[in-house]
């Protein structure tokens, strides 16, 4: 059975097409202002890429903040459930997921079947999200993709004490003017984000093995900072960014 999952996030739209537990392809696109159109487009591009027709797809599940605007989906399921299902599919040992996306971060505890046991979301504040890192990268005039590797070269992470993105930005600027190295500042930024996420994770109760998903999982610096804070190794799958879409496609099989 061929199924598709579409995950419309605040910054990117993701699609995954599966055939009975085998990933046929995935795709990521910028969401833009029209979530409805983004859902259609990302799937269109993906099926063209894998040389398939829309008719071949038996069922579609949408997820993410834009889940209800995907009008051709058979069902909308929250990203919490989809991330649980996706992570379990990729690595059945996983019991805890840290998902850091563009505008929120969440932690999810799952059981041995991928069922969600508990979750928490940080959505009131940009600290500890992709947006936070983006703003900081701009303040430092560093390309976001270089953030991870650069932070690994730090000799001591700077202390960023503000929990608010706006204040943290001015803190970063004053660190720059004090002559603190870019590497140390970036490491400090990752640690600030990780400390936020770890507080939330501890509230839910960390059960290893832990997987990190979402776009920020591509940032090795963020992953390392989180490992230190959570005091446990973190597994990152090559499908980290499309984990929710994969979960949605798996759930579509049950429709």
């Amino acid at each position: 059975m061929i199924t598709a999952g579409i995950d419309i996030g605040s910054i990117t739209a993701k699609a995954a097409v599966l055939n009975d537990g085998k990933i046929l392809g995935t795709r990521v696109l910028f969401t833009g202002y029209n979530a409805k159109q983004a859902g259609r487009m990302v799937l269109d591009e993906l099926i063209r890429e894998i040389d398939m027709s829309m008719d071949a797809i038996n069922a579609v599940v949408s997820t993410g903040y834009g889940r209800n605007s995907v009008d051709f989906a058979d069902k909308a399921v929250t990203e919490i459930t989809c991330h649980g299902t996706g992570a379990h599919f990729i690595d059945p040992e996983i019991r805890f997921i840290v998902d850091v996306g563009g505008q929120d971060s969440k932690v999810i505890r799952i059981d041995e079947t991928g069922r969600v046991l508990d979750f928490a979301m940080n959505d009131k504040c940009a600290a500890g999200t992709g947006r936070f890192l983006e703003v900081m990268a701009r303040a430092l005039e560093v390309d976001l993709d270089a953030f991870g590797p650069l932070s690994l070269q730090a000799d001591a992470a700077s202390k960023i004490s503000s929990i608010c993105t706006v204040f943290a930005e001015s803190e970063v600027i004053s660190l720059i003017s004090k002559g603190e190295t870019r590497e140390n500042i970036i490491a400090g930024i990752h640690d600030a984000a990780a400390s936020r996420i770890s507080a939330m994770a501890r509230r839910v109760g960390i059960v290893p093995p832990v997987m990190m998903t979402g776009g920020v999982a591509k940032n090795i610096g963020a992953v390392r900072a989180l490992e230190t804070r959570l005091e446990t190794p973190i597994r990152v799958s090559p499908h980290a960014q499309v984990n929710g879409a994969i979960g949605a496609a798996i759930l579509a099989r049950k429709l």
Partner: protein
Amino acid sequence: MTEQNIADLEKEKRKIKSVAKMKEIMTTYYIEAKTAAESGKKVAWITSGGPVEFLIAMDVIPVYPENHGAMIGASKMGVDLCEKAEEMGYSRDLCSYARADIAAAPINGGPIGGLPRPDFLVCCNNICGTVLKWYEVMARYFDVPLFILDTPFIHKEFSPAAKKYVIDQTYEYIAFLEAQTGKKMDYDRMHEVSRLAVEGLRLWQAVLDTAAHKPAPMTAFDAFFHLALIVTLRGTQTTVDYYRQLLAEMEQRIKDGIAMVPNEKYRLLWDNLPVWYRTKWLSEKFASHDACLVGDTYTSAWSGVMDLIDPDNFIESGAVAYSSVYINVSLDKMFDTLAALIRKYDVDGLVMHSNRSCKPYSFGQYDLQKMVMERLGIPTLMIEADMVDARSFSESQIETRIDAFMEKLKT
């Protein structure tokens, strides 16, 4: 009959008929309060947890700024007034009831054109410390006397010294009222008012208890609405009569098998104040998942202490009762109350509103959440919002949390 007609009929059947009477009582009450000066009556503003019985016995019309705050929230005027208060210099961290009410006073703002001017104020800090400053501000603004009843926080037990402290203040309160009204307290009347207060509380609790029935004839959202009388007119015959009528209606609904949520499958308990400007959205959201909020910690807070009140010795027993309200006690005691409600209503989950405004209610919620999950094995959901200030409510984020929580309950 068309499908639409049937759906409309079903909806009509589920409506609580007593609502009309309730609205009538509240309208009459506010008209009386607003025309008090003409009828020669005194008006006192009082906190929701304050001992109103003494005012009723002295024929003073009690007015509740917090109830006013709730009305402002429900009529979606909260953001505007909160912003006005912030322009006046009040912090956004201040309770939105206080902000809305402080901003409404000078401009007669809000859905009823402002509250009637008080002759004096009565502030009891059994609910929070915010009310102290809020009432001081109001006392200065209106240039009227303020009586403060200080109820010590109960960590483990209410010591004899604390009890004496509150009882002594109760006598001072009576003396204050006698000075303000220029007449002596009629203790026979006071006794009658106490009796009616307890009767009202018992009836209110009985109304809430009907939701223990499966399916529930009413939800917490209905309780939020019908609560106003036990707060504002406790100790009057009107309240007793009304709740008797409401109770009869609920019992009849149970007999007729009328449920508030058509396909009640999941029963949930609500913690903290309502999100006044979103009650409809929230109730529909939960109902769309066949979930019914059957009970809550908020509306039962008033009746929660009724067993402590002895109408024959109201002054002394009332002092203990007023000090023992839900948010003036330790987390362990709050947990006991919560656990009892969870058992009584036999719920599948607990929904906690982490309310930016109400610190005493929201502080410790994460610990309570943990206790409930660990000791009772009940799933919980935390929603971050504010009771009046809609700027703290993010629809899509709250929707995701509720949907995810319900997905979890369903699997």
